[in-house]
Structures are given as C-alpha cells and as structure tokens.
Symmetry: C5
Subunit: 253 residues, 5 copies
C-alpha cells in the first residue's frame, strides 16, 4: 500500500497549507479584519499558491465545494474541533464530520487533532484509527494534528515530547502530521526522523514577529520537514500575500 | 452544494418563526392561558403568517402531520430537549427524535440545541455533525440553537461569546442558527458577520416589554439577521396576533 | 399519523390496566399471597375484565404468549426496569427487552419508565425516543411511565412537577402516560390538560385504604384521565376481584 | 413460545452441572491438583454423567468443540467474566463471547452473571436482555447467574435478597438461574417459588465439608430446585467421582 | 476448531518474535541509534530469522506490506496501544486498528494488550473478545499481551498473578499470550501449565545484562514456553545480530 494520497498537496515534494479553523478553536477574535470572511482566505489560498487549504465542514460546504476555489486549491477537511471555552485539563476533541461527507465536500485529505498525553488520548487514538482506515478506503490522505496536552504534560514543546508526537503519527498510520516547533533545527530533525515515512509539517501557531516565523520555517525545512501550515501568521499580517511569498521562497526554492 | 433547504421558511429572504418547545424546556408554567393547547399555537402560526413553526416530535405527530396546519406553515422539528429540573452546570441535551422520523412527521428542517462552552460540548458537536449530514441527505435544513452555557461561561450574552456561537454555527455547517441578543445592533452585526453564509435568527427569549422585544428585533434585522423565533413574547402576550403583526412589519417591510 | 394504536386497550374510551412489574421493581415482598404466581394475576386480569395487562419480558414469554390469556387481555410489555437495591439519587432504568421482541411476545404496546429530573433524564429521553419510533413502526402504542425523581426534585408529587411530567409525555410523543396522583382533581386536571392528546392514566401506587384509592380514581376520571393502572391496591387486597369491580364501576359507568 | 431449550441439560427433569470458570473468576489458585487441566474436568463431566458443563470461550474452543466431549456432555458457554483483582464495590462483568460464537463452539446454552444491586446492574440487565433474545433466536437456553453484590447490599445471602434474585431471573426471561444458598429449605423454597417457571439451580460455592454441601443440595432439591452447578466441591475434593456419585443420588434418585 | 493459525509463526514448534511497538508505548527514547528506523528493524528480523515481527498499523502500512519483508517474516499487527504520558493508575489501551485492516496490511496474527486487574479490565476483556472472534473468522491468530497492572495490583510480577494472567489468556481464547517473567523456571512453569493449550511467550522487557536475559529465556523454554518476544534487549544492544544468535540457539537448539 505505497500510496500517494498526499500527491495533490505536494509541489516539489513540499507543502504549504493555509489553515483556517481558528473560528472553531478560538472564535472570531482570531479572525481580524477581512479574515472573518472565508472568501478572503480562499482568495488568498489561490493567489498565494498554497498547496492546500484547511477548513471545517461548514465552510467547505458553503464556500468551497462547487466553486472556483475547488479547482484551484485542494482541501483538507478538519473532522474534529473544540472551543477554547470549557476548562478541561485533559482535552478531547470530537468528530463533527464523517470521512464520507468530507469526500462529498471535495476534500482530498482529512485532518484530526490528537491531544497526546491527555487522559482522553485513548478516545482520540481510537477515533483516528477509524478515520485513517476510512480515508484510505476512499483514497484520501489522513493527516494528524498531534499536540501534547494534559495534566501530565509539563512542557508541551519539549524536544522529547515533540519527537514522541511525531512517532505516534507514524505508528498510527498518519500520512502526514502537523506538530509544533520545539526550539531548534536539531531537535526538530529528531522529530522528523522519528516520524519516518510520515511527512511532517510545522504548525504555524500564534502570530509572532515575521523574522521569528520565517526562521522557524527555514529551520524545520532544513530539518527535513515537508512544509508548514500557516494561518494567523499570514492572515493576521498586514500584507498576507507578501508574507506568503516569503514563506513560499523558503519552502520551495 | 449550494442548497436552498431553507427556501420553504423564507419570505422576502426573511424568517419569522413561532417557537413552541417551552413545554419541554421549562414545563407548562410557561404555557399560560390558551397556549397550553397546541392547536391555539398552530392557529396563531397560520393566522399570523409565520414562516415556520418549531415543535417537538410529540406535538408534530399528534397535531401537525396530516392536518390543515401542515399545508399552511412549514415545520422545524426540534430533535433534542432537556428539562430545567436537574441542576447540571455543564449541560447536554439528548436527541429524542431521529432525522428520518422528523421527515415522516412532515418537517422540512430539524433543530438541535448546542450548549457552547459546556464540558459536554463535544457530545453536541458530534450529535449535530451527524444530524446535519442526515438532514442534508434528506433535503432538509439543519438549524442549530447555539447557547453559551457552562461552568466556564461567565457571561452568556457577551458580544464576544455571541460572535463565537455564531461562528461555530458556520463552522459546523448549520444552515441557520438561533442565537441570543447580545446588547446592541453593533455587537449583533459582528455575530452575523461571523456566521457568514449561515443565516442568523434571534431567539426571542423570555417575555419582556413590547417595546423592548420590538427594539431588539429591529436591531438584529438592521444588523443583518434573517429574522426571529418568537414564543413567549407572543403567546404570553394578551394579544398574540397584534404582537405578531408588529413583529411582521419590522421583519418584512 | 392519526393512529389508534391504543384502540386494543380502550373500552368506552377508558382504560383499566393491571400492572404486575413489582417483582422487578421491588422484589417478591410486594407479591404477597397468591400474587407471587403470574397465573393468578393473569386470571384476575381476565376475570376482572381489565383492558390491559402490564408485564416484563420474562413473564410474558413464560405465561402469556400462546396461552388463553393472550386472547383475553392485551399486553403492554414493560421494556425497562431496575431494582430498589442500589442507592442512586439520580436513577436510570435500562432497557432489557427490544421493541421487536415485545412484538414477538404478543404485546400491542410497550412501556418505558422515565425518571423526570434525574441527572440521567437525557438517557431516558433518548431511549424513549428510539422506542417510540420503533413501536409506531411496528404499529404498537408507546406508553411512558413518567415519575419525577432525582437529587433536584424536592417534591415528587407536586402539582407543578406532575403537570410537567404530563407535558413531557406529550412532547416526547407518548400515546399514553402513567403518572402519579398530585393531590386533587383540580391539580390533576391541569396535568391532563398539559398532556393534550396524550392519554393519561393514574399510577395506582402502594396499597392504601380502599376509600382512598377509589377516591383518587374517581378524582382523576373527573379530571379527564383515561383510566388507571392498578397493582398492589388490587392484588394485595383480600378480595382482588371485588376491588376490581369497584374500580371498574368508577371508570366505565 | 413454550420452548424446551433446556431439554438437552435435563435428566428426569433435573440438572447436575459441572462448573469450570474459576480460572477466570478466581485464578489458578482454585484449580488445585489435576483440575488445572481442562481435560481432567471434561473427563470428570463425562464419567460423572453431568448433564451440563460450564466453560468460558477459550476452553470450549481448545478442548471441547470437535472432541469426544462434545458428544457426551452438553455445553453452557459462560459469556461474561471478571477477575477478583480490582477492588470495585459495585461490580460489572463484561461480555467476552458473542452468542453467535458460543453457538459455533457447540454450546446449547449461554450463561451470564448479573450482580444484583450493583450500581452497574443497569448494564447487566441491558446485556442480558440482548443475550436472552439472541439465544432464543438461535434456539439456545439463556441461563443467568444472579448474585446480589454492591455497596448497598448488606447481606448477599439473606432469604429476601435471594428471592429477589430469583424473581429477577423470571422477569428478565432467563430459562434457568443459578443462585446461592440462603440458609434453609424453607427460605430457598420461597426463592424457587419467586422464580416461577424459570428453573433454579444452586450455585455450589466454595469448598465446604462434604456433609454440608450434600445437605444443601438435598435441601434445595426438596425446595423445588432443578439441580446444582458444582465445581470446587467436586474438583477440589480428593475423590471427585465419589463425590459426584453422592450428589447424583440426591438429585436424580 | 483445532486451528493452526499460529503455524506461520512457528519453527520447530517454537517462536522468536521481534517486537517493535516501543515507539508507541514509550516514545523514540527507547529507539536508540539505528533502531529509530523501521527498516533497520525489519532487516534485523529477516537476517536474524525471527519467526514473527510485531508492528503497529502505521509501520506495517508504510514499511511492510508489499515489500520484500512481507515475504520473509510474518506479521503480528498490534491493534491497541497507549503512551506512557498520562498518569492513570488503572489503565486501558484502546484499539487503533481493525482486525480487517490488519489483514489488509498482511498480518497473519493480531495482538492486543490487556492490563489485568485494572479497573478497566472489563473493557479490555470485551475488546479482546470481539477481536478474537474476528481474527478467527479471518483465519488469523489472536495473541494477547497480558500484563497485571492497576491500583489493586501490588506486585505485577508475582508468580501467582503471572499464572492468573496466563489462565486468563486461555479462558479468553487467545492462541498465544505474551507475559512477563515471574522469577524462576518453576514459577513460570506454573504459568505455562495454567495456560493449557494457549501457547506462552516471554515478554523480553527492558534492556538488562546479556546473561540475565539469556538466563530468563532458557528458564522459560525449560518451563515449557514456546518462545520469546524481544525488542530492547536486541535492538538496544551494540550487536543486535550477535545477540539474536544467542537467543536463537536457546530457543531452537
């Protein structure tokens, strides 16, 4: 089963994704200015030549499927989500879209967040296990967001737990994982190595200084990562397209 | 999938719904005078030219399907409900009617309440996810009641959480959401904007002074809302039809 | 769906049921004298011309289906039950018989207990929701026992909560509900009114003085109830048949 | 449905079963001497002319189905089990074998333990409810082990709770129940009477003096029980076959 | 059903498995040096003539199925797993791969870990019950890892609990079990005896001195075990192949 389900999302074997699930995870306060409008984001994805766009079900259904965007940027449908409102130390994020429905909405990949180390990790391993099988059955890639979190997780960004997160992605059969930065090219390389044939992309995270995010992207690319999924660092930027160009250069040149 | 599942409920692209699920949520004490009788309410819906009536399964089955009412006012079947008796800080409201059965009862839309921010929100996101897919499969609209509630929710009516509620409706693929008033036209506009192509209706809420409810309706309509779902402000009114006329004017004129 | 699933259980539009699920709910200590023997009860049901007999699965399977009793008194199969042993403040009663199996056992109606106000009420609303749909699919009536109970229920027999119980029966689509006495004809009338087209029968409850139970039955019939489900007040009586005759008179004359 | 699913297990309308699930419930420490070997037990069952053997899935699969034993002693497959290790005051015992698989393993009956009065009794009533229906569908008997246990059970062997256990067996539709001794012929007779047409067998329990167990068996047979399921009192005995002969005499002569 | 599902894994009726699920259970920190690379391990399995390789789904999918390895070493697919991050005293390990998918990935056996004595053991007994039936249906062996663990387990490696673990494997229908060393040949013999026709292999455990692990293997083979599943004692060794040869001699010569 040497598949190439990720093929639609790769250019020169690299990936640059535009993530837009912040409205679910953090609420509209993240979606400053024009970014509240999904069409602004989809336009950006096309103009910026992103190799993938990450959306939740509702936005895919109302703004993507059957539109011009569908032809110009492939879709990763995020299947689970939670808000940041309830105070839960060991989180779980439930499935709100079936793999089959994601297919109907034009997705070529599905995404699912696993909170590694949460007391509820068992539910997420089980969920992702089923999703991965259904996705491959339907010829779609299965992408795991793997974020260490829980009452037993002291440092969510330590090199060791990041490498563990990466390995879990491989062991669970993710085609690609989205993980956080763990401090340096060297430590990220260990994570990439732990992931083996599972491709690794950096989670862009909250808005930081341009230099900082560009440095991180450069660092993970050197470490062997396939690319990055950016969101806030682009659409909260005063010039998203210019920022996109800078990122694109690092990844593809 | 640019559907128009909401079409049966719109007049001049606006909606005026009569909600009648208070017997479930609060008990008969809300149903003062004639309003204890579903036929009084259904008559009001027809005479008042409401563009939709909201009922729980049992009332739809015994008073709506196969009657004259079915021809005159389209049905939104509320699929879940809970009483106000148990003291639960992070509520969940379970499904008591299947989407398929709602269809048999003549419904053209289904409704489901999500308590945003509840520690049980995960169950409601998952439930609504399935309902939404089944509803669209059966060519019915999926409408979400989204009410912030839970031990971590300090102000259930703050502009920020209201906008978040609206956004969750969009992200989850609701065709329409029913949310509460958050204080002003300006703040409600932000919620409407957050909901994007998901239509927004105001939840009428408990009986207030005529002026107050009319002012709120005017305000949300100006803010871009599609309409309102009223209940107690009409059927607890001494002249429900007169009150209906006033609301109708604001919405459709 | 103007069904008459209750038709087999009505005589002059009234109902007199013999309940016999006490062995499950309270144990054999309730089944004094000959009443420990299901055949004694079934004989009583026939001789007393009860319009329905309420049994759990096992007794229906071993004493009713395929016997003479089946021809002479229609069966309401009680689908859930619990013992009075575990100390649980917010009770739930689980399903031990499927609707389909009830049908095989000759039942023309199914019964299910909902503990209104229990923190577990959500599970019972969901259970009953499915049962009701399956029952109607199989042309059987769905009867709900609705008893307020739980840590938040201060007075299980208050008029207000009784009316709420009755309303929940209507909202959930029960064809008939079995509720407790709430003190007077007047308050019970409010419950009957809240139930609308859902028929109401009185739960006989524990053995009381003859006068008392007869007075209650008279009172609920005047209040618009359809009838009564008696058990202990008859089979714990020294002359069950004589007692039955007295009740019959009140209900049908 | 006047079935005779128990027919294969009865001789002169009586039953003598050899129980061998102690390896699951208590561990090998109960299986002293040769009794650690399932073949020793199966030989004993055949030589002793037991009318049934009680095994868990694994032993049935590896030592019974397709062997000479299958022809000589009918199998009751025990579907659930738990160890005595975790300290749980209100126990639940989960299903590890499906009814269908039991059938494939040659079983003519299935067994299931219910801990009556446990806070988890609801799960066991629901489990057994499904098992009983599946078993009857496949023409197999459904046998319930009913043992009072839980934080609210003060005396697991009181006559009252034993009669309650027996009654629950009848109400749930068990063809036969296995219950514990409750002190005397007289009190056990009340349990047998409570079980009605559900046949009752005594659970042999831990090893006691020969006289004691023989006296108990005699007592329950006089009380109307159908027989006994023995295990430790036979295979922990220095002469299991001689002990078997003594029991056999009491039951069948 | 005298199957030989284990046949592909046996040589001279003995087994030597290479386990490689540590990346899931403990993280990359266990995978020192080249062992981070699955291909290094698979090469070792082939060169070392292991009679089975134990992998989680993702590694099987990306490194085994359709490769040269598939022809040279049979696969045991481990269906469940958990990390060592959350602090849970009574653990449960959830299923992340279906039996059917394991079959597609070329597995000839499936593995599942049961934490015996955990308050969650009921879930694992139920899970394994279903897995075992599905595996046999698909002509695959079902192998249980049985590790005593939980708040009530004082000594995870006592002879008594080890024998109990072994017995549970037999009772549940495992074709083979993987258990830990319990101190001596004599005590391990008791475990092997308790397992009856269920074959027993030793879990190699953490890296110890060469002499120690070799002594243990010799001891369990003498005690009647079928073999061993080694991991860290080989791939954390400076010369994995040499170590393999030493183990091989003990098992097969």
């Amino acid at each position: 089963m040497n598949n190439n389900f990720l093929q639609p999302f790769l250019y020169k074997d690299k990936a640059m994704f535009l993530a837009y699930d912040h409205g679910f995870e953090h609420g509209p306060k993240d979606l400053i200015g024009k970014s509240i409008n999904p069409e602004f984001i989809l336009d950006l994805a096309v103009k910026g030549e992103y190799t993938g766009i990450i959306l939740q079900k509702g936005i895919a259904e109302k703004y993507y499927i059957g539109t011009k965007y569908q032809k110009n940027v492939p879709l990763i449908l995020k299947l689970n989500g939670k808000t940041n409102i309830p105070q839960i130390s060991d989180p779980y994020s439930s499935i709100n879209c079936s793999v089959e429905y994601a297919k109907k909405l034009g997705a070529k990949a599905v995404g699912y967040t696993i909170y590694l180390g949460s007391k509820c990790e068992e539910k997420m391993f089980a969920d992702f296990g089923k999703i991965q099988e259904q996705a491959h059955q339907l010829k779609m890639a299965a992408i795991a967001w793997i974020y260490p979190r829980g009452s037993a997780v002291e440092n969510e960004n330590s090199p060791e737990i990041t490498a563990y997160a990466a390995r879990i992605g491989l062991e669970l059969g993710a085609d690609m994982i989205k993980i956080k930065y763990c401090g340096s090219e060297e430590t990220f390389r260990k994570a990439v190595q732990s992931a083996g044939k599972t491709k690794v992309i950096l989670s862009g995270g909250p808005k930081v200084e341009d230099e900082e995010i560009l440095k991180r992207i450069e660092s993970v690319i050197k470490a062997g990562a396939t690319g990055v999924a950016v969101g806030r660092n682009v659409f909260q930027h005063q010039d998203p397209l210019a920022m996109t160009e800078k990122i694109k250069k690092i990844i593809f040149d």
